[in-house]
Symmetry: C2
Subunit: 210 residues, 2 copies
Amino acid sequence: MDKKKISMAVVKRLPKYHRYLTELIKNDIDRISSKDLSEKIGFTASQIRQDLNCFGDFGQQGYGYNVKELYNHISSILGLSKQYRTILIGAGNIGQAIANYTKFERLGFILEAIFDANPKLVGIKIRDIAIRDIDEMEEYVVKNKIDIGIICVPRVNAQKVCDSLVKSGIKGIWNFAPVDLVVPDNVTTENVHLSESLMTLSYLLKDKQS
Amino acid sequence: MDKKKISMAVVKRLPKYHRYLTELIKNDIDRISSKDLSEKIGFTASQIRQDLNCFGDFGQQGYGYNVKELYNHISSILGLSKQYRTILIGAGNIGQAIANYTKFERLGFILEAIFDANPKLVGIKIRDIAIRDIDEMEEYVVKNKIDIGIICVPRVNAQKVCDSLVKSGIKGIWNFAPVDLVVPDNVTTENVHLSESLMTLSYLLKDKQS
């Protein structure tokens, strides 16, 4: 595939395709017209054709998409054909919930270790993974070639943990701390800012009712 | 304020202003120039002026913004000057983590009750809030004038729970289930789709390394 720049709007839609195609496969549907897919997913058929055209030739005019083929292709575009070695830092409420989420493993994100700064938590197991002391983190990341760090520590500690991960060679950070992390250009961050999502909801609620 | 339509891009930036202004207040900073604010927050000064102009006159050219005033105004735009009565449905991993997050209460989102379909969970307390049987939910929502339902149930049950909340008069839904809920026009949904966020990360990782 030639390396053209795909817009973030398209990128943000891809996981939704992935989710709907997963469902079609579960329901043993082999083939779907762009019209039917569009009705299911809520994008227009022409939007879907345009999105998929960014990634090569899928169009089977009048015949529809081969579901399994499209699923595999979108998985591969999303980087889901490989496995990622991940660690999670901060075994508080959100950290524990994320660590317990086995769905991420099915997508290829394997949780290899959990770290926390609280000595009381060290040794406790989540899904057979013992929580380790955060002081062991850098060495562990280097030694085990970890791809992704999942930051679930409090806001004030997040940048420090991030710096430490970057120093150890991690290239991807999934950040749950309510802070904008500063990273070098070769490191990717993706944020889940829960409070901001809740504020968006309250704005929209107010806007709709005024 | 006249009711003009604010773009979603601006709306999505507002919580970030709120977060940075909260920090400035914590650090006892009364006044900030648009240049300093822009350095902190990472938007250009002109972007900030443009954003804030959507909501009336803030410009104090050469004198900067009054932090407390700007904070109050943005809080009010975000609908954070009032309190919201919320319930949470689905006391699994994510549900428990969200229920334990007291930060949301400080923003004005008060968790009034938790519901689950699993009889084994009914009666167990999270932060002094006993989990109730989901069969009591509709009556509870009507009686207690609940504003927001937080859906943390598995995908297959999410639409059913949503329908039930809407029927009982709820106007806002914060949805953690990996599904696009169908709601009437007068109901607002905001999604936190964790798997989609993780897929965005893997896409960007792959894109950066290829």
